[in-house]
């Protein structure tokens, strides 16, 4: 039994310490917005924030996240207001199938925290998630737009 603080709320979860954080979030905490894509930190569909930093949760043991602030896609909105990145995503109609987009949005939020006015090169360097539908053109435009908000 370990304690995880997800989106500001404590959860006691019955997992082995080496359970990937991704599966603890999905199956034990019950938040399914964070997706499984590869299990080896390649695709980024499972990206969450640990103390504000983007982390591929499929490759992090749940026990490593104990005592830290875990934020998932479900926790981005604050005080009933969607995050400016989520708004930009809707404005630009970014998602196609949408399966990678939770991770994509979490990566974009981190980028903007780090670099509020990112260049195209900054976006290229930070956004390493895979999208098989190929939404990158809209992702780039939405990030630039969110940077202006």
């Amino acid at each position: 039994m370990i304690e995880l603080k997800v989106n500001g709320k404590m959860h006691r979860v019955d997992v082995e310490p080496d359970t990937p954080l991704l599966w603890a979030i999905r199956e034990n905490v019950g938040l399914t917005g964070t997706k499984y894509g590869c299990g080896i930190a390649q695709c980024g569909a499972c990206t969450v924030h640990i103390n504000g930093e983007p982390v591929r949760s499929c490759a992090m043991q749940a026990s490593e996240a104990v005592g830290k602030e875990i934020t998932t896609i479900e926790g981005l909105a604050a005080n009933g207001m969607v995050h400016k990145v989520q708004k930009a995503w809707v404005d630009h109609d970014v998602p196609q199938c949408g399966y990678c987009q939770s991770g994509m949005i979490m990566a974009a939020v981190s980028l903007l925290k780090e670099k509020p006015k990112p260049t195209d090169a900054d976006i290229d360097a930070a956004m390493t998630n895979i999208c098989r539908c190929g939404t990158f053109q809209q992702v780039r435009a939405a990030i630039h737009d969110a940077a202006k908000a």
């Binding site: 997992v15 082995e16 359970t19 990937p20 599966w23 199956e27 034990n28 019950g30 938040l31 399914t32 917005g33 964070t34 997706k35 499984y36 894509g37 590869c38 299990g39 080896i40 390649q42 695709c43 569909a45 998932t72 896609i73 479900e74 981005l76 909105a77 969607v82 989520q86 995503w89 809707v90 109609d93 970014v94 998602p95 196609q96 199938c97 949408g98 399966y99 990678c100 987009q101 939770s102 949005i105 976006i123 290229d124 360097a125 956004m127 390493t128 998630n129 895979i130 999208c131 098989r132 539908c133 190929g134 939404t135 990158f136 053109q137 809209q138 992702v139 780039r140």
Partner: protein, 728 residues
């Protein structure tokens, strides 16, 4: 099929809550999803396609599947256009295949592949909307005791023109649902030039839930008392499961059961999927790999190579006398190309959730073909249609893979061994990579001939390799055993017509079917056929010192729509003017899935092997453009799918199994490599072409032709990584 909406005067509620009967399952999907709400939509059904609630909410039924391509929104636009409803009040829901069968297939074909979602159902869904509009107007007219011809519908409101009286759809929907529908022949459709909702780039209807984590995909389904399953199928295709030692894992945490799923696979069922996977990885399994374990990539390739010279071949397109043209040629050009196996690799691995009792079997899954999934449930469960159903869930990508139903059958086979317990089966990424239905492997020998004046006199194209239909649908093959799908983009006429006129032409196919299961991979056979033809066209032009665009134009007088998209990209890229210093251009065009597509690329190459794509211009003429904004997204996305394949991807065979198990060895384009794509959507009207697939085929040859122009090096086998060529 011909088909007209049927009336059903009963209030009709879709979803497991009413369909499960004795199972008392409920559609207990996670809360807050649009899907969960839509599944409970209640209100008078005006036609099979349209339900209108008293608050004027319009629920439009969508039979085809949404997997990112925008079909759900496009089909809703077409219904709404004819319905004359308020677009801001439109929601959608999926009818289930079981309900469709119970109502004599009132929603027609559910299959969503071949870029057919909109083009093959546009007419009857529009009639479903128009019929509903007529009935709503009639209901208002009846209430007012005035002729319907004096009433007009607009924006979900009906107005009696002479008196100015008005009412809303929500107020008359119940009465409308009891009216006899008009005769099918009396329902006329709008001229597309009068469209107000269709033809416009309206926002998708499914975006918000895809940005806040609430959209439910198959992997997210949660049912009461559900258990989770992880599966391993014999890694060698055609091999069998000999035995497994369940005693070794039964005491592991969370494990409930280890089950033989079928002849070749075993699954562990546990409280969580992670527990199931850990136990499965620890499970001792003995496979009977069979004869196929002797097959390797080299043996497949040499078998295909032999086919390039085989006597027996199926002819796909022929005119004139190619042999004579070759014999009498002043000049001859020859080249051999090849294209590898490719996994679809959708972001969401295959999965399905099934619950079985002796009296009922239901499945929740992302599928491109609800009816095929339904048929798989009937077969696997052994239960009749009225005791089964399939609930379609949003797909985390399809690309053709989810038109197959192997994962549905597996889920039912597992659930049957634990009656009453819902089982969610999720494949690991590795299982997904090893058990795809792969893009077929082919090679092609291209021979072009010229006369003394450098006119192209002949083209011979011998394809050797795999038939998809032989593996997937033998019943659709020719009586002689041929596979017409092989000739996509090369056919004499139709949706996949060859777009050049050449006096002597022979395109034929020596079928060679390796044991690796083939499938329809987004774009299907135009992907490699376009590379073969369009790269070779550049080779031919170079041989006679002609401009690639002018060389093509001379052969395209009888192909005006192909020429129009080719000219459009050439004009936009500035073909007639010199490229910027160090920048090189390439072109390609084709016809596929009823649409005309072209692309032009501007690239630079450093060190002879590092490609920077500066600019892509892509044009498509799909006849009618239902949502141009979504078409643009399909076009730009097609460059990700097509260029990922040509730069990075191949699946190779070693000891009968696929070598590449995850994205580390089967990479996909990321942001840094995404070229800027300018889309030109140029619907010429008069026909309905597909959108989701055609553009992929021109992505690779446009870039490959630019690379050849830059370096003088012609690449004829893929992916480019095997030639040490990469993105800069």
């Amino acid at each position: 099929m011909t088909f007209m909406p049927q009336m059903n005067r009963r209030s009709f509620i879709i979803g497991a809550a009413t369909a499960t009967g004795g199972l008392a399952l409920g559609i207990d999907l996670p809360f807050g999803s649009k899907l969960a709400m839509a599944q409970g939509a209640a209100g008078p059904e005006v036609t099979a396609w349209v339900v209108i609630k008293p608050d004027d909410t319009v629920v439009i039924r969508i039979a085809r599947s949404e997997m990112g391509q925008g079909t759900l929104t496009g089909l809703a636009q077409l219904v709404a256009e004819e319905l004359e409803c308020d677009w801001s009040k439109v929601t959608t829901e999926y009818p289930t295949p079981g309900q469709s069968v119970a109502r004599k297939r009132v929603w027609g074909d559910f299959s969503t592949g071949g870029s057919r979602g909109i083009r093959e159902s546009n007419e009857y869904v529009r009639k479903g909307g128009a019929t509903a509009r007529t009935m709503l107007i009639q209901a208002a007219a009846n209430e007012w005791k005035v002729p319907a011809s004096e009433c007009k519908a607009e924006n979900s409101k009906i107005t009696h023109m002479p008196s100015g009286r008005s009412t809303t759809y929500g107020k008359v929907a119940d009465a409308a649902s009891k009216i006899e529908p008009p005769a099918a022949a009396s329902v006329t459709l709008k001229d597309p030039k009068d469209w107000k909702i269709a033809g416009k780039g309206v926002k998708r209807l499914d975006t918000v839930e895809k940005t806040n984590g609430k959209m439910i995909y198959g992997t997210d389904v949660v049912l009461p008392n559900m258990l989770n399953a992880a599966i391993k199928d014999c890694p060698v295709f055609g091999g069998k499961l000999k035995s497994f030692d369940e005693a070794k894992v039964m005491s592991m945490k969370g494990v409930k059961k280890v089950v033989r799923v079928d002849d070749s696979s075993v699954a562990v069922v546990a409280d969580t999927w992670w527990h199931a996977k850990v136990a499965l990885d620890a499970l001792p399994i003995v496979w009977d790999e069979g004869e196929n374990a002797k097959v390797n990539q080299a043996s497949i390739e040499s078998w295909l190579k032999e086919g390039l010279d085989a006597d027996k071949a199926f002819v796909g397109n022929q005119n004139g006398d190619v042999k004579a043209a070759i014999a009498g040629a002043a000049k001859k050009v020859e080249a051999v190309y090849s294209y590898p196996f490719l996994n679809h690799a959708p972001m969401e691995p295959m999965n399905a959730t099934a619950v079985y009792t002796s009296d009922r079997c239901e499945v929740w899954t992302g599928t491109q073909n609800g009816e095929a999934a339904f048929a798989a449930v009937l077969e696997a469960s052994g239960l009749p249609a009225e005791k089964c159903d399939v609930h379609k869930i949003m797909l985390g990508g399809g690309f053709g893979r989810r038109g197959r139903t192997d994962y549905v059958t597996q889920a039912v086979n597992i659930a049957k061994q634990m009656p009453g317990t819902p089982i969610k089966l999720i494949w690991s990424r590795e299982e997904d990579m090893l058990h795809g239905t792969y893009h077929p492997i082919t090679q092609a020998r291209m021979v072009g001939t010229f006369d003394a004046n450098n006119n192209l006199t002949g083209l011979s194209m011998r394809i050797s390799g795999q038939s998809i239909l032989a593996g997937v649908a033998p019943s659709r093959m020719g009586r002689d055993g041929s596979d017409p799908v092989v000739f996509q983009g090369l056919s004499p006429s139709g949706d996949f017509a060859f777009s050049y006129s050449i006096p002597n032409l022979l395109i034929d196919h020596a079928m060679r079917n390796p044991h690796v299961p083939p499938g329809f991979w987004r774009g299907v056979n135009i992907n490699q056929n376009c590379i073969y033809v369009e790269c070779f066209m550049d080779e031919l032009a170079k041989e006679v010192g002609q401009d690639p665009l002018e060389f093509r134009r001379k052969l395209m007088a009888k192909h005006p729509l192909n020429l129009a998209v080719l000219n459009a990209v050439a004009d936009r890229i500035g073909w007639s003017k010199p490229a910027p210093a160090g920048v090189h251009r390439g072109l390609a065009h084709f016809k596929g899935f009823g649409s005309y597509v072209a692309a032009a690329a501007e690239i630079s190459v450093t060190g002879g092997n590092k490609i920077k794509i500066h600019r892509i211009v892509a044009a498509t003429d799909p006849g009618h453009a239902v949502n141009p904004a979504q078409i643009e997204r399909q076009i730009s996305g097609s460059f990700v799918y097509g260029l990922s394949a040509v730069f990075f991807q191949e699946n190779t065979v070693k000891n009968g199994r696929i070598v590449e198990e995850n994205f580390d060895t089967f990479d996909s384009i990321r942001m840094a490599d995404m070229p800027p794509v300018e889309s030109i959507v140029m619907p010429s009207g008069g026909f309905w072409g597909g959108v989701g697939e055609p553009t992929i085929c021109v992505a690779a040859p446009a870039v490959l032709n630019a690379f050849a122009s830059a370096t003088g090096k012609r690449i004829r086998s893929f992916p480019l990584k095997n030639h040490n060529i990469a993105f800069a």
